[in-house]
Symmetry: C2
Subunit: 455 residues, 2 copies
């Protein structure tokens, strides 16, 4: 059994939806389909989810929202018209939006989740109805009915383990099933959304629940590139990548597959393939637990992400003071700050985190560290970029670090930090944000077009 | 005012002691002299401190120790004879040893410290007496009388701050003062020794206490080499190095100057010079707070130390779990384990420590981590060597990392770990212990004889 998930651009209009259903109906193993909200139809278009967000903002501000609501209904009306379907659904859409607004206007965070979930939810209903009308037995199933039970924190749902057992029962249906992505139901019976881009997460959870043989993630690209194509022209694409590599790359800026979606798959080793709705016969990129490593694919990909802050602490004889680092990390924990890297020496540590983790409490954190940790020097730098070179087995190849640092030195890029762990599949380089694109280009050239393969 | 400390080989026999006193008496600013116990007189000789340790072991085992005691007394008898001094001191030495053995035989740790302190203590008395006999007003002062008050943990004395005020009064003496190194007195009135090599520490504490203009540390080499001369033939020597560089290098294996001795000096910025008793006119190596950096001295030195253990922990989505690393470090703290480096990524950390920190409790630590931290994978590797490339400002020079990794790659040395922090003066490379010497040779060549200077 396969679970197939289709992203926003794949279900943005009637023509795309027909393509999707051609793909779905062409393979009897494609039993469960996760759909996103209608995405952009052209470059200047607005995603349905963003229209819903604007509707929410108007409701919250207490101003007239009718026009905004109509705009949303019109998105679905266009699709329904083009698919020559009955417009019964439109009335239902209007009713649902009004009913959420009425019930939840005093609970803004709940209202936001409920309204945002509508983009996927209406689309799933629409697509199920249409596929049925084409003579293929198809059933819409809401996340609640499917059994996707999540934690109750708005905009940040985490799946609860009980979901997996419930989802397994989806195997009993004979029809094809269409499930909206991006949200689940809490035990308190609220709609709660996953972080944005969360349809990938729904697909992963469902894939694990039904023990799918393959999770097909359909997007608008024929797989994952080895580097960002807006920086490197025509980059190579990746045939095969491991979960751990994918996680490092998506964490560091690869937008194709939501990194949180890997967790459920990782546990049961369910393979994923990233495919192109518009070119379904292209092989795509497989994400698996293991991959074969040869001299041509040591480095899987190169990513560079911006917006990092680094806290640097110096303390003479730091390594002698058992518990010092723990105390510093305890302060970060007090402010619920998660960090990403921590290069350290005998007398200093640097803690690297996304700037958004700390920006609102930076002064408080610094004061606490000064007061509680008796440091010699404490400094903060913003605007750091993190270059990640990712590849399984890379650390076993003599000269990988040399290859990368050589490429960076030749491009006159200063390495402000470096971090490579014992069993790592990645090397991290901290660089100035202004060097970010140059660093990606230089290391890409060196890894894939240069001397790298000879080492 | 200068404080001069003379190491064991500088005071190992009559001839050396004469050299020392020629140096001391040649400069009226050399007011306070710290002496070690008599060291080896030739390669196969045994240091007095080791003779004392053997005496202690015999006493502890309850077997006849007379011969061992006589051997110790003979060391001083040889010196006294050669200096043509009265042998009154020998009786006093015998009495002191017997009295410690009698008083402390039921407190083995106290006995050990008391006996070990005798090597320095007898030598200081001998040297003071002899210099007086040459007509130079000289006074022996015990650490207790000098005011060196320390914590009460045997073999691991830490100076207490009150010492500094007491030591300042040494400035009032007109005579030259001879103080034995290596031990202080606890408030509980026990002799407590510093870690071995601790005469450097005594010198540093006294230098700070008397606000010395310079701390001269006399040894048997004309300064500090840029790399271990038993590995690199005829290495360059260092003219000037900072406290922080020295600390990194001595921590990583440079034996010339005890790293703990830097702390008191660092606080008051008292410069140190490492000089050669046998070639007192050689300039030596200055250790200061700052140094001038030019393209020829970016890298101060290269060191490689063996005997490290690395704990590697993998946990999927580790960086999301606020507090995870703190929890792991809390376990190390429970076992009083200090660690030296911690390269980390978004899903893993490697904690590098000296093997002796963990070897007795390794299984317990691993079990605790497994039980309390819900890790995906936990592994331990022993026999890691740590290569440290140390230099102030190194991180500002584009290409330093490249230079080093290139040298290592050319020598086919695999980098198992790498760590360079935001404001670091060092780069750390984790390598196999078998590659240690090769790595020092290769990086030395590259940094000092190779293309490095052109970058």
């Amino acid at each position: 059994m396969k679970v197939a998930k289709f992203g926003g651009s794949s279900v943005s209009n009637a023509e795309q939806i027909k393509k999707v259903l051609d793909i779905v109906n062409a393979d009897k193993d494609r039993k469960i389909i996760i759909v996103s909200a209608p995405g952009k139809r052209h470059k200047e278009d607005v995603k349905t989810t963003d229209l819903l967000l604007r509707l929410y903002e108007k409701v919250l501000a207490g101003i007239d929202y009718t026009a905004k609501k109509q705009e949303i209904i019109q998105r679905y009306a266009d699709i329904i018209n083009d698919l020559e379907m009955s417009d019964d659904l439109l009335e239902q859409i209007d009713d649902t939006l009004e009913s959420f607004i009425k019930q939840l206007k005093d609970k803004p965070e709940r209202l936001q989740d409920a309204l945002l979930s509508c983009g996927e939810n209406f689309n799933a209903q629409l697509i199920a109805t249409y596929n049925n009308s084409r003579g293929i037995p198809t059933r819409y199933i809401s996340p609640g009915d499917a059994g996707i039970t999540v934690t109750d924190l708005p905009q940040n749902a985490q799946v609860l383990d009980q979901s997996y057992e419930a989802l397994y029962k989806l195997r009993d249906y004979d029809e094809k099933l269409i499930i909206p992505g991006y949200f689940g139901m809490s035990r308190q019976n609220y709609v709660v959304t996953f972080p944005r881009g969360g349809s990938d997460i729904t697909g992963a959870i469902v894939s694990r629940g039904v023990r799918a043989d393959l999770y097909e993630n359909f997007t608008d690209v024929s797989g994952i590139f080895r580097a960002n194509p807006t920086i490197v022209p025509n980059p190579l694409s990746i045939d095969e990548i491991t979960y751990r590599e994918m996680r490092e790359l998506s964490y560091a800026g690869f937008g194709v597959f939501h990194d949180e979606a890997l967790q459920p798959l990782y546990k049961d080793r369910i393979p994923v393939v990233i495919k192109n709705t518009n070119r379904p016969n292209d092989t795509g990129t497989f994400i698996r637990h293991d991959r074969e490593i040869n001299s041509n694919n040591v480095v899987s990909g190169i990513s560079c992400d911006k917006g990092f802050t680094v806290l640097s602490i110096k303390k003479y004889l730091m390594n002698r003071q058992v518990g010092f680092t723990r105390k510093v990390l305890g302060i970060l924990e007090d402010y619920n700050i998660s960090f990403d890297h921590m290069p350290s020496g005998i007398d200093n540590i640097s803690i690297i985190m996304r700037s958004k983790e700390i920006e609102n409490v930076e002064q408080k954190v610094l004061n606490d560290i000064r007061q509680r940790c008796d440091v010699d020097e404490l400094s903060v730098e913003h605007d750091l970029a993190i270059l990640m070179i990712v590849g399984e087995g890379m650390h076993r190849i003599i000269g990988t670090a040399n290859m990368i640092t050589h490429a960076l030195a030749e491009s006159k890029i200063n390495l402000r930090m470096m971090n490579q762990g014992a069993s790592e599949i990645s090397m991290m380089f901290g660089i100035d944000v202004d060097d970010a694109d140059k660093a990606v280009k230089a290391t890409y050239e060196y890894c894939y077009n240069g001397e790298a393969l000879q080492i």
